[in-house]
Structures are given as C-alpha cells and as structure tokens.
C-alpha cells in the first residue's frame, strides 16, 4: 500500500531528486545489509556500525590522499570522476583494515560478553562504547576538521527530464550494485554464506550440523565491516567531504532501512534502503533539505506504527 502511495506521487516529483535518492539508497543499502546480517546472526544492534563507515572513509583518505601521493604516484583523474586511481587502490585496503578491526573488536569484547551469556542489550551498549572510542581514535589521528578526498574533476552530466548528476553518482551506483550482487552470491552460493543464513535461522541446529558458530560470527563481521567500509568511502565521495561524525549521523537512515525491511533480512534491508534513500531526497522538494534525516526517522515511526515488524518482516 505504501509502495502504491509512493508510486502515485511519482509524477509530481523531480526526477533528479529520485536519481539522487537512488544513489543515496545504494550507500544506505550497503551499510544496512551489513547491519542486518549482524543483527540476524549475533542478535545485537551494532551501534558502532556508522563509525565503521567513518573509519572506512578515513582509511581510504589516508591511502588515497596521503600515502599514495607521498609515494609520488601521481594518479590523475579517471575519466569524468572527481577522484583518481589512488581511490581504487585505497578502497580494498580500507575494506581489509575495517574488517580486521571489526574482527579484533569482536574477539576482544563481544565474544567475552557472549560467553558470559549477558543480555543482548548490554552487548549493544558495549557497541556504543566502541562507537565512542572509535570516533575518538579517528579524531585523534585525523583531527576533527572537515577533510576532502583529492578532487580531479568537476564535471556534471545533463540527462533528459532535467536530471543533472555528477559522474561520481554512476560510480557509486555501480560499486554498490556490484557489492550487493557479490553479497547475494556469497549468501546464496558459498558454503560460509549459507552457514551464516543457517545460523541466523537456528543456531543450535547449526552447531550439531558441525557449523562453527565462532567462524560464522567472524565472517559475519568481515562481511558487515567490508560493506560498511565501502559505504563509508562512497559516502565520502557522495558528500565530497569527510568528518568524524559522518557515520554516527548516518545511523538513523541505516537503522530505518533495517527496521523497515524486517530485522535480519538482507533483501528487506535493501528494499528498506531504497525507500528511505528516495524518501530522504524527494522530501527536499517540499521541506528544508537539512531535515532529510528527520524525514527518514518520521517514515520509520510511521511504518512501525502500522507494521511493527517492518514492511517485509514476518507477519506473526
């Protein structure tokens, strides 16, 4: 019904906002899929997820903006994009770094709490502590000031229906779609991906099937963090700047997408991200653009009021 309503509004909406919304949605989607996987398998709300995104953006900045130029490898731009080759090198490095960080934090903190059998809310609480510490660490290393990735081009594409998009949007969408497809393949084709879904379904049966929960959890963190790091880099490209609070601010659309899609469902999170992303951008046609996060929040409350388990969650 909600979808029909949104579709009905479509003729009155500026297409460029919809396009922008889809780009934003692909970033939200990357973050939300990771978040919902962690939610489904570890049963915890990872409040630090936004800060994993931040970390991803900063690590990429370090490689693309500091280390690679310092090594003298002048990249130059790639076609019309604002960034150069260094970013393409930096992205996988950033993914690896954030994934390693996430696994280490799990070993050091969450695993101990799990073994003690504490309430899941307390584990989420611990992730709040991790979020705070991580942000402090980021500020300590990179300072709290606004930073920018090196910018090589300022082109804008003009498309029909008065749509103007920076070429970067295409890049963001392509990377996001590729990663979502990769995630889908991992979850549906690889043994570990299936084991992750199996563990989310029924942890005890997974155990007696010989699936090591410990390893599943480790890979969940690797995937979730990798997606978060990518989302962070793409967000940095999208908003053309990097600040320590960018990830924390992004938590609202992330969780809104997860909750809309039904906790634990990767496909639901993706659909939720589309709705949230487009709503956020399109809302700016009528309201002050800085209220975008509030629009996402309001939509989430509205949906929870009507469908407490999300749009795509189980009915019972």
């Amino acid at each position: 019904m909600l979808v029909a309503l949104l579709a009905g509004l479509l003729p009155f909406v500026k297409m460029s906002l919809v396009v922008n919304g889809l780009v934003l949605a692909s970033i939200i989607g990357l973050g939300a899929i990771g978040l919902t996987l962690i939610y489904g398998i570890l049963n915890m709300a990872n409040v630090a997820h936004g800060d994993y995104m931040t970390l991803g953006a900063y690590v990429a900045l370090f490689f693309a903006g500091t280390l690679i130029p310092a090594l003298g490898a002048e990249g130059g731009g790639i076609g019309p994009f604002t960034f150069g080759y260094p970013l393409l090198v930096a992205m996988p490095l950033s993914i690896a770094a954030v994934a390693a960080f996430a696994v280490a934090v799990d070993r050091l903190i969450y695993r101990r709490l799990r073994e003690r059998g504490v309430n899941v809310v307390l584990v989420s609480m611990a992730s709040l502590g991790v979020a705070i510490a991580l942000r402090g660490l980021v500020q300590l290393i990179w300072s709290g000031d606004v930073q920018r990735l090196p910018r090589e081009s300022r082109e804008v594409w003009r498309l029909p229906m008065d749509v103007r998009v920076p070429p970067d949007s295409l890049f963001i969408a392509v990377v996001a779609i590729a990663l979502v497809a990769a995630t889908y393949l991992v979850l549906s084709r690889t043994k570990m991906g299936k084991a992750m879904r199996a563990t989310a379904d029924n942890p005890d049966l997974a155990l007696v099937s010989g699936i090591s929960t410990q390893r599943v959890i480790q890979w969940t963190w690797v995937m979730g963090a990798a997606l978060a790091a990518t989302a962070g880099v793409l967000l940095a490209v999208f908003q053309a700047n990097i600040i320590p609070i960018m990830g924390w601010k992004f938590l609202i659309p992330l969780f809104a997408a997860v909750i809309l899609g039904g906790v634990g469902s990767p496909y639901g999170a993706l659909a939720g991200a589309l709705i949230i992303g487009v709503t956020m951008e399109v809302s700016t046609q009528w309201i002050n653009p800085s209220y975008k996060p509030a629009a996402a929040f309001a939509l989430m409350l509205l949906v929870l009021l009507m469908r407490p388990r999300g749009l795509f969650g189980p009915r019972q």
Binding site: K191, K194, D201, S209, G210
Partner: protein, 237 residues
C-alpha cells in the same frame, strides 16, 4: 567394542538435574530405542551425547574415544549425527541448502551423497529449491533425517521422529529409518511411539525419572507388563 557407550551420565539444565546416572550402549549396526514417560530425560540424554548439554559426571565414549565435553561441531565430525525433535530444519533455506548444511564439515564433493539422499527420500526430490519452512511436518522430518545423514554417519541419533505426525506418515518415517539402518548405520532412537519403535529395534531401554530401569531386547520390552504401568502411573514391581 561398543560403538557408543554412555556410562553413568549425569546432566541437566541450570539448577535442575534431569539425568541421575544413565548408561546406554549401542553396538555397530544396531537399532536401539529408549522409551519412557514424558520428562524422564530421554531428550536430555540425546543432547548430552551430542554436546548440547554439558555432561556433569560420567562418560560418553564413541568408537572407544571419550567425547564428553567436546563442542557439538567437533562431535559430529566423529561420525555421530543428531536430529532434534523440533526445529530440526533451517526454515529459510531450501531443501538442497539444508542438505548442504548437513554436509558442512565434509571435505570434498558431497553431490553423490545428496543424490543418494534424494533417492532415499523421494518426497524431497520434486522441489529441491523449495524453502524448508513451507514443508509439511512429515516432509520436514524426512529432510531433517536426510540432513543428518549427509555426513555418512556411523550412528544416527533420532529424537522422537514420529512426534506430531499423522499416523500414515509415522509408518513411512519408520520405514525410512529401517532402510537407513539396513545401509549399515546404527540408530539410537528416542520414542514415544514405543510399539512401532521397539518392533524394529534390536534392544530397548526404559528410562524413568532420569534413571534407566529396564534393558531388554526390543520385543521383550514391548511385552513387559510393567511398561504400560510405568507410563500411566501405578507402581512398578
């Protein structure tokens, strides 16, 4: 040497001790059934053997090696697979994926084994990509058994495979279990449906209140007048 030897197993949940020293032996290729009234600890014994419930004292040996205290994912690698009574499939995974999960620790190719399973359980063959959550009770039970068999175990532990099934389905399930056993797999069965189960068993144990009361050949246990009395109250002699 016995295949499985549980001796004087004491186990329970939290503060509650359910098993007060139960001993059960299964030999190669045997079907052994444990019967007993509700709450006597049959399921707990199963869970203790596979490592889901901690064994507080006593021992469990499989093929001569002690396995008590090992985590479940290690125990299944020794060739001992378990089918829980309820929640025994992964509902959001397809039939094929459920079977793959059964073969999780298997090295190398498991496709031949999967084909064997589809041959053994023809009900599952028709729609291998159907989600397990949408199967009927009987089909789920077949899938659950097939999942456990994917590892080619020497011993299969089945917790009440007939529970909640329609009578016609019950005999089909038992027929399949017999076929599994004919293929050389020893089966340890916990059953409410004592009559059907004991008929196909080599031996049976009667468990009452966390203690083994009687051990006998399957049919003898069946004919023991004490059994009915123990089930429905009254005093055993």
């Amino acid at each position: 040497m016995a295949l499985l030897e549980a001796s004087e197993v004491v186990a329970g949940y939290g503060e509650t001790e359910v098993l007060h020293g139960v001993s059960v032996v299964v030999d190669e290729g045997e079907v052994v059934t444990i019967i007993g009234p509700n709450g006597c600890g049959k399921s707990t014994l199963m869970k203790a053997v596979v490592g889901l419930v901690r064994v507080r004292s006593g021992g469990v040996a499989f093929r001569g090696a002690p396995i008590e205290g090992l985590p479940p994912e290690r125990i299944v690698r020794t060739g001992l697979c378990y089918v829980p009574q309820t929640n025994n499939v992964f509902p959001s995974l397809t039939i094929r994926e459920n079977l793959e999960m059964g073969a999780f620790v298997r090295e190398g190719d498991y496709r031949t084994r999967m084909d064997e399973m589809f041959a053994l359980f023809p009900d599952l063959t028709r729609q291998p990509n159907r989600r397990a959550g949408s199967l009927s009770g009987g089909q789920r039970q077949m899938l659950a058994i097939a999942r456990a068999l994917m590892l080619d175990p020497v011993l299969l532990l089945l917790d009440e495979p007939s529970a909640g099934l329609a009578p016609a389905m019950v005999s089909t399930v038992f027929e399949r279990i017999r076929e599994v056993n004919r293929a050389g797999v020893a089966v340890l069965l916990v059953e409410q449906n004592a009559w059907e189960a004991l008929r196909m068993s080599d031996r049976g144990y009667l468990l009452v209140a966390g203690e083994s009361r009687l051990e006998a050949a399957g049919r003898e246990l069946l004919d023991d007048p004490d059994v009915a009395r123990l089930y429905l109250g009254g005093r055993a002699t």
